[in-house]
Symmetry: C2
Subunit: 138 residues, 2 copies
DNA sequence: TTAGGTGCAAAGGATTTGCGGAATT
DNA sequence: AATTCCGCAAATCCTTTGCACCTAA
């Protein structure tokens, strides 16, 4: 409801990637330097609790966020750049259901994350959002 | 090679669940109180680097470990009981590789978690020795 | 003895929070 | 003016590390 909060919400809705708090802070400051990282943390948490934001833990020690509205999909994380590619795959959805069934369960939800290295011929490698210091969980 | 290290290794190999460092520390102290949590951290890291341990990030801020010897597998979390069931599926492994390849990546690692509800008639439910404390950050 | 391991406590990085001041209604 | 929010800095939480001492080989 306040200026800062609105600003952060805007930065988030404009984000096409999965920024971490530091990155959000950078983008927010670029638009209005009267904001502190504490507020970013607070707002991001608030939005997550309201279900507007989704928090991901792609390893590397920081949480990364994305608007919930993106719909069901999964992530492939480029372990070199930290960049996240979204994808969805029907075969996988079916397989997941089948695996659950085989174990005697009805699938209620699932989470799939792939970690990969870019294969040679791939001309695209724009500025990695995060990915630096720290270990990579996977 | 030293006593503490052997002790931690033992605690780990006896673990049927996915304990975090604090829990490992507790179990280790119970057997020999001449050990510090720093050593647990150091050993756990060492073992992970050697590929003997696998670190999981189920959310909740702490890393949780399990011996690699369990073989590649994934987790299905019973959303009613919180119990974690392990499973592996070759079709999935293949599919994951294929998805990554389709996106131009070489698969380096992956994480799959299913959340399910137990189906009615299923005579099999032999309460696994381990598998408890199932936080899932999701 | 020597290299490497351990404990303790301090250091670090990410995230949270207490508190007085500032903005919103 | 009242309520809620913000910024700052201190505090937490998990994990790593510097340093002096100790232990396995």
């Amino acid at each position: 409801m306040t200026g800062q909060r609105r600003l952060i919400a805007r930065v988030l809705s404009e984000a096409e990637d999965h920024p971490d708090v530091e990155e959000l802070y950078r983008r927010a400051i670029a638009l209005d330097n009267r904001i502190s990282i504490a507020t970013v943390y607070r707002t991001v948490r608030l939005l997550e609790e309201k279900g507007i934001l989704e928090r991901h833990d792609f390893g590397g020690g920081r949480a990364r966020y994305e608007p919930t509205e993106h719909g069901p999909h999964h992530h492939l994380i480029d372990i070199d750049s930290g960049k996240v590619i979204e994808f969805s795959d029907e075969d996988f959805e079916a397989l997941a259901r089948s695996i659950a069934a085989k174990l005697g369960f009805v699938l209620v939800g699932h989470r799939l994350e792939l970690f990969g290295k870019r294969k040679a011929a791939e001309p695209e490698t724009p500025a990695p959002p995060g990915a630096r210091r720290g270990r990579t969980g996977a």
